[in-house]
Every structure is written in C-alpha cells, then in structure tokens.
Assembly symmetry: C2
Homo-oligomer: 125 residues x 2
C-alpha cells in the first residue's frame, strides 16, 4: 500500500463511490448499512471503501452498541489543499513573469518559451 499520507488521501478520493460517501458524510454521520443502501454493491464492498478512507485518515469509526457510525475527519483535506495551492501559486507566478517578459519584448523575436534551469529536487524513489 502507498506509504505516504498524501498519496493515500489522493488515492482514496480517486474513486467516485468514495467521493460520494465523503459527500454524504459531510451532511452527517452514518452507519455502514445506511451508506451502502443507495449503491447496488454489497455491504462488504462499502466496508472496504470505508477502510480505504479510514487508512487515509478521512473518516473514523466509533463503536456505539452494535452499530459503527462513520464520521468524517475534514482536517485531512488541508494536506491536499496545501500541496495544490503551493504548486498552483508557483505555476501562476511563473506565467505572470512570462507575461511580463513577453510584454517587454520586441515583436520580431519569437519567444522559445523554454526554461533551462535544472530541476532542483531529487527524485523520491
């Protein structure tokens, strides 16, 4: 299984059924049976989906009599939004700078649109 938390969150939300489960849990807590009702898959399959969401830290299950109400943990969303915003802002700033360069350029030179600084990061694997 994917080790890093960010991969787990992205991977968990890559499934439309799991996203729908998250959407419904945002309205209120629910049990596995209630969550499984609208779909035409077995309860076991939904239980598996919930396990994926739980491993990603997106939901938590508590014991309440024989029911296991599922609860949405919205804080993990921050992990994603932080990552996304970081690179979105970086990219947008780059485009803004590029626009400035293009604006200050004479019309007869065709911009090659290449940056040849070597990538600063090392590969993760």
């Amino acid at each position: 299984m994917a080790a890093d938390p960010l991969s787990r969150v992205f991977s968990a939300l890559a499934d439309p059924t799991r996203r729908d489960i998250v959407a419904r849990l945002a309205v209120g807590d629910a049990t596995v049976g209630e969550l499984a009702a609208p779909y035409d898959v077995t309860v076991q399959a939904v239980s598996k989906h919930l396990r994926v969401l739980e491993d990603a830290g997106l939901v938590s299950r508590s014991r309440e009599a024989q029911r296991r109400p599922v609860h949405l943990e919205a804080e993990v969303f921050d992990l994603m939004t932080k990552w996304i915003e970081r690179y979105r802002r970086q990219a947008e700033e780059r485009y803004r700078r590029l626009d400035d360069v293009l604006r200050s350029m004479p019309d007869d030179v065709s911009p090659t649109h290449r940056t040849d600084d070597p990538p600063p990061q090392g590969g993760p694997p």
Copy 2:
C-alpha cells in the same frame, strides 16, 4: 480507465513520482528526458506517467523540433479545490452547528451525536 475528470485528476496525483513531476513542471517546462533524469526508472516509465497526467488534463505536450516539451496546466487544480472546499465547508459548518447544540444543552443529557436524515444523494453506479 476512470471516466470522470475528477477521478482522473485525483488518481493522477496519487503517485509520488507524478506529484514530483508536477512540482518540477511548476518551476518550468521540461522535456521527457530531463524529467526522467533524476529518477532511477526508465524513460518509458516516465513517458507513461506523463500520459496519465496528460489524460487528467494536468499537462500538455507540444511539438518543438524533435523535442516534446511538457507544460503544466494549472487550471485543472480548480476542479479539485472546488470539490474539496465544498465538502470541507459543509463539514465545518455542521460541526459549528453541533457545537451550538451542545453548548445550549443541559449537562445531564448525554448527546447521542447521531443524525438520522437519510442521505439525499443517489449512488452514482
């Protein structure tokens, strides 16, 4: 392959190598060979990763002589942030309301913390 765009974007970013590629493309465009250099996988594997990112709409490849510079398309991030923010806000508002309820409650009654409104959405599959 996953049909809906949101699943494709989430799935594309669920891989740490692909996230690293996106991070490096935020700095500037690069060719497949340049992108593959830091990793100890083959160029073909990186080309496959780029195809996944391209299918998700996150990058675009243009033809420039025999090189194929890869370009980051940051607009697709909006798709994710919109989805995330929607349910995060919904969940947070629910917690706020729950806090109000708890605050206005007498101390001797134990809150059961259950919402029994049936989920309004129908399942997608």
